[in-house]
């Protein structure tokens, strides 16, 4: 059932391309703005790059989360799914996974652009970078899917989602920025192990909350 639901989200995206295109264009636009605003020195850029990078991804994922949930409401497909014999925890995981996939795909386009435009040196340890990115993306998608599920039926939800999500993911953002900076700085894993552990705990806590509690959130 999980595969059916995730494939559904991907098929919808494959047909409409709404989510990825808006994620990528918006992300590229901000990256360009960064490049124009911080032109002076690539060296100072390197100090701020991890923070700027994760802010782009956070903004971009809000777009995706909002769009993917408003598609559920447009013809009230969400009621159809809720009335179908589908466990709500599975529904949560499917939203979580498809959000994760969208974010990863958008990053695969945006990250090279980011390094290119801001003239950053590539990190030596790409494997670590990929691992951290995948984990943080899981964290953003877990908290994001839970919160967009929560606000999707509230008025002005497009404004409430970032308003709730940003403070909620502060610890994740801090840890993501710190570990990205450490990797780009070629520091050994031991130096930034703590941040890695924090990311993992965030992912676990929000995945569990979502899995256990989505049933209460989804019904009208």
């Amino acid at each position: 059932m999980l595969a059916v639901l995730v494939r559904k989200d991907l098929l919808i995206e494959f047909r409409s391309r709404e989510i990825l295109i808006s994620m990528i264009t918006f992300g590229a636009a901000i990256t360009l703005l960064y490049a124009f605003s911080f032109r002076p020195s690539p060296e100072s850029m390197q100090t701020f790059a991890p923070g700027l990078m994760w802010m782009v991804f956070l903004f971009v994922s809000v777009l995706a989360l909002h769009r993917s949930h408003s598609l559920e409401k447009e013809f009230d497909a969400f009621s159809m799914i809720l009335s179908a014999p589908v466990e709500r925890s599975v529904l949560f995981i499917s939203k979580y996974l498809s959000g994760f996939i969208f974010l990863v795909v958008a990053q695969m386009v945006l990250l090279p652009l980011f390094f290119l435009f801001l003239q950053l040196p590539l990190p030596a340890n790409l494997a670590q970078m990929v691992a951290v990115f995948l984990l943080v993306d899981l964290g953003i998608s877990a908290a994001g899917s839970l919160l967009s599920g929560i606000v999707m039926r509230v008025r002005v939800n497009e404004m409430l989602l970032p308003l709730m999500l940003f403070p909620m993911v502060t610890p994740l953002l801090i840890s993501a920025v710190k570990s990205t900076a450490s990797i780009m700085d070629n520091q050994p894993f031991n130096q930034w192990k703590l941040w890695f552990q924090l990311i993992v705990s965030f992912v676990i806590v929000f995945s569990l909350i979502g899995y256990l509690i989505y049933d209460y959130v989804s019904e009208e």
Binding site: M1, L11, D76, S83, A84, P85, V86, E87, E219
Partner: protein, 227 residues
């Protein structure tokens, strides 16, 4: 048999349903009428757990639906006021998806057959976002042909349908009658309703009005009995 007992629901502090009890026997076609805002749609949505309820119990063949896993909803199919589809997908894709959600694996030929049965062109592959209200309604009815339900909950199925669509719907309902399946029909078109239902119950102000009409094809005229 669907048994609804003392279901209550408030929106904010406004009670929408007050101690609603209702039974639908196997093979029974029950019509639900009532003015706008009387809680008809809400009752349907509570039965399939789209809307939570504040108290009461609902069971299908003795198994509770409210406090149970998703599998308990499998015999029920809800066709709501809104079509319940994904606008970027084609009609066939939507139908196929819904079938899969109910654990079925329909062949493309089955899907095509169901589409043409409700008067939609199976060759049409564009997104259903461009469909008219009536076409969406027809597509919704195709769901009822795809999924082997035991109780169908239909909310205002005639909305947007043209004359042909309406008569097609009437025909469908009559074929279902032969299969001994149950139907819960909500409409404000009482005349149309009474031509199809065994029994009609009126909901007003969130309460079941007991002294109500029996349908012309009424098999039994006694009203809701409490368990």
């Amino acid at each position: 048999m669907l048994s609804i007992q003392n279901v209550n629901k408030q929106f904010g502090y406004r009670p929408v349903l007050r101690d609603v009890s209702l039974k639908i026997k196997d093979g029974e076609f029950l019509g639900l009428v009532g003015p706008n805002g009387s809680g008809k749609s809400t009752l349907l949505r509570i039965v399939v757990r789209v809307v939570s309820c504040d108290g009461g119990s609902i069971s299908w063949n003795g198994n509770s639906i409210l406090n149970a896993g998703a599998d308990q909803r499998r015999p029920l199919l809800y066709l709501g006021h809104e079509p319940g589809f994904y606008p970027p997908l084609s009609a066939a894709e939507n139908l196929h998806l819904i079938a899969k959600l109910y654990g079925l694996e329909p062949s493309p030929a089955d899907v095509e057959k169901n589409l043409s049965e409700v008067g939609l062109d199976p060759a049409r592959s564009g997104p259903i976002r461009q469909f008219s209200r009536g076409m969406l309604q027809r597509l919704a009815l195709a769901k009822a042909l795809t999924i082997p339900w035991e109780l169908l909950l239909l909310d205002e199925p005639t909305t947007g349908l043209d004359k042909q669509g309406k008569s097609m719907l009437s025909q469908l309902i009559e074929t279902w009658r032969k299969d001994d399946r149950s139907l819960l029909l909500v409409s404000h078109d009482e005349e149309w309703l009474s031509s199809h239902c065994d029994r009609i119950v009126q909901l007003s102000n969130g309460r079941i009005q007991r002294s109500e009409v029996d349908g012309t094809k009424s098999v039994q005229t006694e009203l809701v009995e409490e368990a």
